[in-house]
C-alpha cells in the first residue's frame, strides 16, 4: 500500500473499514471512503480504460468527474466515472475497452 498518501499538509484522511472490490474478477482491498480510482491506484493499477479510437491506455486525469478519462464498467454499468464513484463491499470493476455496450 505504498502508494497511499497517509499524511497530507491540508487534508486529514479518515480511513474507513476495509472492503473487498473485484477488479477484473480479482479481489482487491479498499477502504470505505475510497473512490474506485483511489482504490485502484493504491493497488498499483493505473490503466482504467482504452481510448475509443486508437485503443491507447487511459487512467485518472481530471479526478473531479469532468473529463471522461476514467470511465469504467462498474457493477456492470459502462461509462461510470471511477474518480467520483465510491467503493462498496463486493463491487465489480472492469476496464472499458469501447464506448460502452448497453445491456
Amino acid at each position: 500500500m505504498g502508494r497511499r498518501i497517509t499524511v497530507h499538509p491540508v487534508i486529514e484522511f479518515q480511513k474507513g473499514a476495509q472492503v473487498t472490490i473485484f477488479y477484473e474478477g480479482k479481489p482487491l482491498p479498499a477502504y470505505d471512503g475510497d473512490t474506485v480510482a483511489s482504490a485502484l491506484i493504491a493497488n498499483g493499477i493505473d490503466v482504467f480504460r482504452q481510448s475509443v479510437n486508437l485503443h491507447r491506455p487511459r487512467g485518472l486525469f481530471c479526478a473531479i468527474g469532468n473529463c471522461s478519462s476514467c470511465l469504467m464498467i462498474i457493477d456492470g454499468v459502462p461509462n461510470t466515472r471511477a474518480c467520483i464513484t465510491s467503493v462498496h463491499e463486493g463491487m465489480t470493476v472492469e476496464q472499458q475497452l469501447n464506448k460502452g455496450m448497453m445491456p
Binding site: V52, S68, N79, N98, K99, G100, M101, M102
Partner: protein, 388 residues
Amino acid sequence: MTYDIIIVGGGIQGVATAYELAKRGAGKILLLEKTFLTGGSTGSCAAGIRAQFGSPFNVKLMARSLEIFENMAKELECDNDYLELWQGGYLVLAYSEAEFEGLKRNVEVQHTYGLKTNVLSVEEVKKAFPRVNVEGVYGATYHDRDGHADPFHVTFAYAEAGKRLGVEIREWTPVDTLLTENGKITGVRLQDGSSVYAERVLVCAGAWTTSLLKTVGIDLPLWGEKHEILITEPWERLLGPMVISFSRGYYIQQRPHGSFIMGIPPEDPRHWYRPDEFDFSSSIDFLLRMSSEATNVLPFLKGVNVVRQWAGLYEMTPDHHHAIGPLEDISGLWVAAGGSGHGFMFGPVMAEQLSKWMMGEPMDIDLRPLSPDRFKKGALVIEPAVVG
C-alpha cells in the same frame, strides 16, 4: 477589387452554392463570413437529413438532396467517414389515428417520387426497433435512406472543393451594408469600412439575412427563432434511426460517433428580426422537457449522461419554406435563406438548383415558387411534415 459574385454567409447554403457556381463556371467568386464557416445556424443544427416530407415540392427536393449526400464523397473528393454520413433511416411516430393518416398521405407522395418509405404498424415498430417505447403510438413511417451527415464536415468539404475551383473565402469578415446604384447591386461594404464590388450579390446569411436586406430597404419576413439541442456521451451503436414525432416535436438520433443528439421545439418561441435580439443562452426548461420526452420514448437513455446543450436559430419564414431567388426590386441581388429548421438537409440541392438558376440553365426542380417576393404577393407554399 471586383468579383462576378459575392456570397454573404459561410453556412451550408453559401458554401455549397459557391462550389456549385464555381463548377458551372460562374467566374470570380468571393464568399464572406462574419465569423467562421458553419458559425451560424449550420453549426448548431441537429445534423438530420430526411426525405419524409409531405408536400410534393419538398419531397422532390429532398429526394434529390439525399442523392447528392450519397454521392458527395466522390463529388467533393473526401470520404463518407469524414462526412459522417449515416443512413439509419427516420422513424416517424404517430400519436393519434389522425396523425397516422396524415403520415400515410405523406408516404403516398413520397412513393410518387420513387422513395421506398414503409408504413409500420405498432407491432412492426416493436419488432424492428425493440428499444423504442410504443406507448401511445398508433403507427409509424420509416424511410431507410434518411439519416445523418456532419454539418461541419459537409460544409468544410464544399469549401475545400470550392477553393480548388478558385473560390475565395474570407472568414471573420462581417458585411455591414449592401451597396446599390440606380436600383442595381454593386457590392458590399464591410464592417471595417472597406468595400468589395461585384456584379451580383447572393445573401445566404440565415437569420442575419433580414437585417442585411434592410440596409437596401427590403423587408423580408424572415425571423430567427431559438431552438435548443443537447448531446450525450458516446455509446456503442444502440439505435439506428432518427426517432421523431411531428406532433410531440422531439427528434433523437445516435450519431456515427456514438453520441445521442436530440431536440424539442420551444413552447412559445419569440420572433427575432434583428441580430441584437438574438439569444443563444441554454435553458433548464429545455433540458427538463427534452430529458423527459427522450427517456419516455427511448427508456434506455435514462442511463446516458448529457455532455452539453446549446441553442441555435431556425431561420423561419411565414410558410416555413426557403426564400430563394432574385429580388425584383434590386437587380443583381439574390437571396437563399429561410430553411426553417431544414436548411442543412436542403443545402446541397438548393445550392445545385440555385446555381443553375443563377447561370441561366434550366432547373431540374423549379425553385421559382420559393421566390423571396412571394410573401408580398401572398403566394405561400405549405408543408405538413415539420417539427415546431
